[in-house]
């Protein structure tokens, strides 16, 4: 009798285990499918990468051309204000599917403090900029963008080797320099203690 009970319990446990595993597996499949699909959506976006290195926001295109928003060449009038400063960088967010990492960069100096927030949505890189000017009043604030290769610049879009990079600024004036493969964004700093801007970088490659 006792042996039969033990056997019955054993069978019951096994059946329950099997059912538990079945349910667990089905649940796992149901959970992983949408996550996988979301992960795969990244294939729809232009596969450029961006990072913060050597005090600059560096964007690398799939054709290996890169460009940087230099963090050490910013000027207030003729003063190079962040040349030797060490920024505080924080990386956050997920890097999966349509979500990309975010960077928050704070660069203090005696003259001005700069805060940049970098994020990506689709094929557009957003850089929000805030510059708090501490000391005397300046006329002009300029930040610089440098490309690794010369390209054709037309209507504010840099084109080279199958990729297009369009840069737009909400409050700044973009001046392209095709000869030096660079661009600058100028801001009027007269009587200002704070400069704010939203820069959008639209990147597309290999449009078929």
């Amino acid at each position: 009798m006792g042996a039969r009970v033990v056997l019955f319990i054993h069978i019951l446990i096994e059946c329950n285990m099997k059912n538990i595993l079945k349910v667990l597996t089905i649940l796992l499949v149901l959970v992983t499918i949408p996550i996988s699909i979301y992960y795969g959506l990244r294939a729809l976006n232009t596969p450029y990468t961006y990072t913060y290195t050597n005090n600059s926001i560096v964007v690398t295109l799939p054709n290996k051309i890169w460009f940087e928003f230099s963090g050490t060449k910013d000027t207030l009038d003729e003063d190079n204000i962040f040349e030797t400063e060490i920024p505080q960088v924080e990386k956050s967010g997920y890097d999966i599917g349509l979500q990309y990492p975010k960077y928050s960069i704070y660069t203090p100096s005696n003259v001005a403090n700069k805060t940049q927030k970098v994020s990506r949505k689709g094929n557009t890189l957003n850089i929000s900029l805030e510059v708090d000017i501490q000391k005397r009043t300046y006329e002009k604030y300029v930040q610089y963008i440098y490309f690794s290769q010369y390209g054709d610049i037309l209507n504010g879009i840099y084109r080279q080797d199958g990729c297009n990079v369009g840069i737009s600024s909400q409050n700044g004036k973009i001046i392209w320099n095709e000869e030096n493969a660079s661009a600058s964004i100028e801001y009027d700093a007269k009587n200002m203690v704070k400069i704010k801007d939203n820069i959008e970088v639209n990147i597309s490659c290999y449009e078929r």
């Binding site: 597996t25 992960y39 294939a43 290996k64 010369y150």
Partner: protein, 632 residues
């Protein structure tokens, strides 16, 4: 008769297509037709299976398949002997051999269709459908990703074809290093190359078409071998089919298990065939060991060791509580130990391969946590189902030996991966096969009512497809031209090769590294280092192009890789240096593994260069698409 319909249609279809195509578009067009390429590559990979079944009276996949692949080295030996001693063109022998093996394939297919039992023919019909299904699925994926029918997305294929070109030229090539200067290390014999030679030289398939179609046919053939392996332990055909899909559609960077046709993946196919052998014995293993070793020295040893483990501990039908389970458990635990060591910074490449690292200028492996993220990105959620199936497997009382062995195989691969010798990710070769086996068995043992078990496994397969897509797309970036076309060979390269074929190239060709590889892979000519041209040579060459004078010229020709008897090929790729703001940024100049893919940069050939080279006795021949050929 209905049962024999599918193989009959397949046979008639292939023959009919070839004949109609030749009639409609001409004989020459055949070799640039992707369907014909697919037919011929399928013949090359499936013929050994037919020979194994019909002549050796063994199963399609197993030792019979492996021994049947010997026809290709035998054809090479025949071509070499006939060329050497009778003076007959080796290329002609290859063409005749291609015709003979085509005829043999059709004959054996017809024979097997009409001589086998109904059950066997139904199995064969299902295999044909599976084969075609895999090809169509891959074809659709490639189309979505923009990979054209004629495309090179594996420079290795070009590199190996340089050997094929020499072999069909009658050169003796026991190892690739014997007849091609493109191989820096000795990694295998030319066993694999005898197969590629049949495709590109025997059947004469255009190289871009050959790369794509041989890959499709190879993956589909491997799929059949994997399916056969799974079916031994999972009697449900639909589940086995879904399990095969799970195994095939994983993009393993570095290992490339079912992604490209290269010697290591061919060695994997042989390994899977050995496991397919019913009643594998040490004697049988020793018979095929030389072929395994000949295909790839490193993986020949790796697979031999794994087969030794299989024969010692797992060559039984069902294992309950004994040594096999202990070995599986220990190997699984070994992953944890090695992982901890890796986490603390240990790796073989840092410890004893410093020289290699210094030469390359970078570490070849990821380190924690990137190495873990790499695995997650590569296998996706298959890892979750794999872990679930391992726990379930190890907890069972009676386990088919292949399942415990699957745990061992994957564990050994991961141990090697975390030990991190150079390019350790290649030791993950074949891991997806055994993951597929474990997951399929696990699902089969859940005893889910038909067809829901199949649906569940297909859904698991579908969870891995996005990862496959993303990884393959990421891989293809390297080969993407500015037009969006994915191929290392451009139209300018094809025009160049066609023009160079008419020239007697009795010199060492000097050009940019990628052009050198493309030319040497299709024309029997030596180049200055091929795609692995030394960085110094690249700099010397560019310096000479930019500033042609006695000093820069002597610096170039005194370079050991170049020499004095040279011909120089100027291409738009070289002149792309003008696009760069700084020469330090020119990636093909500063890295051994980087190349300029596009070959259509507009430039003007320097008059000084032309004048100088003419003063040195060079004659200029204009090539298509802004390419200039200087020879003496």
């Amino acid at each position: 008769m209905r049962d024999r319909l599918i193989p009959t249609i397949a046979t008639i279809g292939a023959v009919y297509y070839t004949v109609i195509f030749m009639y409609a578009k001409g004989f020459e067009s055949l070799f640039t037709d992707p369907i014909f390429g697919l037919i011929t590559c399928s013949i090359v990979f499936l013929l050994p299976a037919l020979i194994s079944k019909s002549i050796f009276k063994k199963s399609y996949f197993g030792l019979g398949y492996i021994l049947s692949t010997l026809i290709y080295p035998l054809i090479y030996i025949l071509a070499y002997i006939v060329n050497r001693y009778l003076g007959i063109d080796a290329q002609l022998i290859y063409i005749l051999s291609a015709l003979i093996i085509s005829f043999l394939f059709i004959s054996l297919l017809v024979y097997l269709t009409y001589s086998q039992s109904r059950g066997e023919v139904i199995k064969m019909s299902k295999s044909i459908l599976v084969f075609l299904f895999v090809i169509v699925l891959l074809f659709v994926i490639y189309k979505i990703l923009g990979v054209p029918n004629s495309s090179i997305t594996s420079l290795d294929f070009l590199q190996h074809n340089s050997v094929s070109v020499q072999m069909s030229n009658g050169t003796l090539c026991i190892t690739p290093n014997d007849c091609s200067g493109l191989f820096k290390k000795l990694g295998y014999t030319t066993y694999y190359h005898t197969i590629q030679t049949m495709i590109t030289q025997g059947f004469g398939i255009e190289i871009g078409i050959a790369e794509v179609t041989s890959r499709l046919a190879f993956i589909a053939t491997s799929g059949l071998a994997v399916l056969s392996l799974i079916q031994r332990n999972v009697k449900d055909d639909e589940l086995a089919f879904a399990g095969m899909l799970v195994s095939l559609f994983t993009f393993e960077l570095g290992a490339y298990s079912f992604n490209f046709l290269i010697p290591q993946t061919f060695a994997l196919l042989l390994f899977i065939n050995i496991l397919n052998e019913e009643k594998l014995t040490w004697k049988k293993f020793l018979v095929v060991l030389p072929i395994l070793f000949a295909s790839h020295f490193v993986f020949g040893i790796f697979f031999s060791a794994l087969l030794g483990i299989y024969l010692l501990f797992f060559q039984k039908k069902s294992i309950s509580k004994d040594l096999g389970r202990t070995v599986a458990l220990l190997s699984f635990l070994a992953i944890a130990i090695v992982f901890l060591a890796n986490w603390r910074g240990f790796s073989v490449e840092k410890l004893i391969q410093q020289k290699d690292i210094e030469q390359l200028g970078f570490f070849t492996n990821y380190y924690f946590p990137d190495n873990v993220i790499y695995l997650l990105k590569q296998y996706g959620f298959l890892i979750v189902f794999f872990i679930l199936s391992v726990v379930n497997t190890l907890g069972r009382k009676k386990i088919p030996s292949i399942l415990l062995y699957s745990v061992v195989y994957i564990s050994v691969g991961l141990v090697c991966y975390f030990l991190a010798p150079t390019y350790a990710n290649k030791f993950l070769l074949g891991s997806s096969v055994f993951m597929g086996i474990l997951i399929t068995y696990f699902i089969s043992k859940l005893r889910i009512k038909r067809p829901y078990g199949f649906v569940l496994l297909i859904l698991i397969f579908l969870t891995s497809i996005p990862f496959y897509f993303v990884n393959l797309k990421q891989y293809d970036i390297f080969y993407t031209q500015s037009s969006g076309k994915v191929s290392a060979i451009t139209q300018e390269d094809k025009d160049l090769v066609n023009s160079l074929k008419d020239i007697d190239l009795d010199c060492r060709l000097v050009s940019d590294p990628l052009t050198q590889l493309i030319v040497q892979s299709q024309i029997p000519v030596d180049t200055a280092g091929g795609q692995y041209q030394e960085l110094k040579t690249r700099r010397d060459f560019l310096t000479f192009i930019q500033n042609p004078n006695e000093n820069t010229y002597n610096e170039l020709i005194n370079n050991q890789e170049v020499g004095k008897n040279i011909c120089i090929l100027i291409t738009p790729r070289i002149y792309t240096y003008k696009r760069y703001v700084s020469e330090d940024q020119i990636y093909w100049l500063n890295s051994m593994y980087e190349y300029e893919i596009d070959n259509d940069y507009h430039y003007s050939l320097s008059e000084d260069l032309v004048t100088f080279l003419k003063s040195k006795g060079y004659e200029l021949t204009n090539m298509p698409s802004q390419q200039y050929f200087f020879s003496k």
